[in-house]
Amino acid sequence: YSYNNRYSGDKVIRLVPESEREAQALNAIFHQLKVDLWQPSSIFHISVDTVTDVHVPRNRSQILLSYLQQANIKYKIIISDLQKAVEKQSGLRSYRHRR
């Protein structure tokens, strides 16, 4: 497995806050969980209608999803297993074949 399988079970979640309350709630939870933000580049850019993609590790994804459900924030899981997506991109795999 590429990268020692470290992304196994990690997720990428898309959210679009619909209110200031949701934006601030996301700001707080992302800061607390120290997530890897794919877009925008900083949590301070998250405001109403900002398309937000966040990579959350496997051991924190359940915490985040529970939080979002409790806060009634809509979300969509765009990548359910990041390791599989990494393998599919095949940069490392084709490199190994070339070597």
Partner: protein, 308 residues
């Protein structure tokens, strides 16, 4: 251009450097490779000068890819651009005109340390790999480290943040080397193009404030024509506009610095896609992404040659 080199796969840093060495040897009529300095970890910062050596003074276009390590489609495009230039110089009148009348300075991998790290350790690494003495976090956002409203809105002073602006402007040797190079050629370089991912946007200044640039009509029409050309390939829509309002406000960006440094056409591309794959754009999409982007870059270059 290089026998057996596959432009539809992602290449490691070592492979890209070997590719540049090879081109430098085999296409000396159109390519000259040189180093503008060393990265934090001591790697050479290679640039390809592409163009026909036809007259002593020629205007130039600067293109860099891979400022952010995880945005692999950027370096893939830079390689594609060079390949296309070499392959079509004889057959495409527009390309021949571009390479005869201009030089292109291409930096296929700006953030060499970060790019290498994204291949060996952390696929989603963004920053450089410089060390911080006080914190255990590495790296500076190379697109927040330029001396233009440095570390203002949209950048962070905390070393562990992904938008960390650095301890001072041009603290990163990569940023300092490119800035030095561009400053020395201020009169020669007429366009600055930087390639990122992902969002499908074509951005121009300003990033650091909400304001209209003095040559707005020329830049805006160049952007409009470029995205239309891009869309003509596969129907992919790119948004375009000032970075501050089209994307978000961010200070210390290379595009804003290039513009402030006197380069009239400064653009940042955010290539495919819009989030389905994100940074993990499959290799099967390298060809269409690069093909459409090529049309946009050629369009901007022809606009530059027409003198708006």
């Amino acid at each position: 251009s290089v026998p057996g080199y596959n432009y539809e796969v992602y290449h490691s840093l070592g492979e890209i450097q070997s590719w540049m060495y090879h081109l430098n040897k085999t296409h000396s009529n159109l390519i000259h490779m040189f180093s503008i300095g060393k990265s934090y970890e001591g790697r050479p910062l290679f640039v390809l000068k592409l163009g026909k050596r036809s007259r002593p003074y020629k205007r130039a276009v600067w293109i860099d890819c891979g400022i952010h390590a995880r945005e692999w489609i950027g370096p893939a495009f830079c390689q594609w651009f060079v390949k296309e230039a070499l392959h079509t110089y004889q057959s495409d009148p527009a390309m021949r005109r571009m390479l005869n009348q201009l030089y292109f300075y291409i930096m296929p991998v700006f953030n060499v340390d970060g790019y290498n790290f994204s291949w060996t350790n952390d696929r989603f690494w963004r920053k450089t790999r410089s060390k911080n003495s006080q914190f255990r976090c590495h790296g500076v956002d190379a697109n927040r480290n330029w001396k233009v409203k440095w570390c203002d809105e949209g950048a962070s002073l905390h070393p562990c943040d992904d938008t960390y602006c650095g301890p001072f402007p041009e603290s990163e040797p990569e940023v300092k080397a490119v800035a030095h190079f561009l400053r020395k050629r201020q009169k020669q370089i007429k366009a600055y193009l930087s390639f990122h991912a992902y969002a499908q946007m074509l951005l121009y200044p300003y990033s650091y404030k909400y304001a209209t640039i003095p040559n707005f009509s020329c830049v805006e029409s160049a952007a409009y024509n470029a995205v239309n050309a891009l869309q003509s390939a596969y129907g992919i829509r790119y948004r375009y506009g000032p970075a501050s309002s089209t994307l978000y406000v961010s200070s210390g960006s290379s595009m804003d610095w290039a513009y402030k440094n006197g380069i009239p056409y400064a653009f940042a591309f955010e290539l495919r896609d819009t989030g389905h794959f994100g940074f993990l754009l499959p290799e099967t999409l390298i060809k269409p992404t690069c093909t459409e982007t090529m049309l946009a870059v050629k369009n901007i270059t022809m606009h530059l040659l027409k003198k708006c």
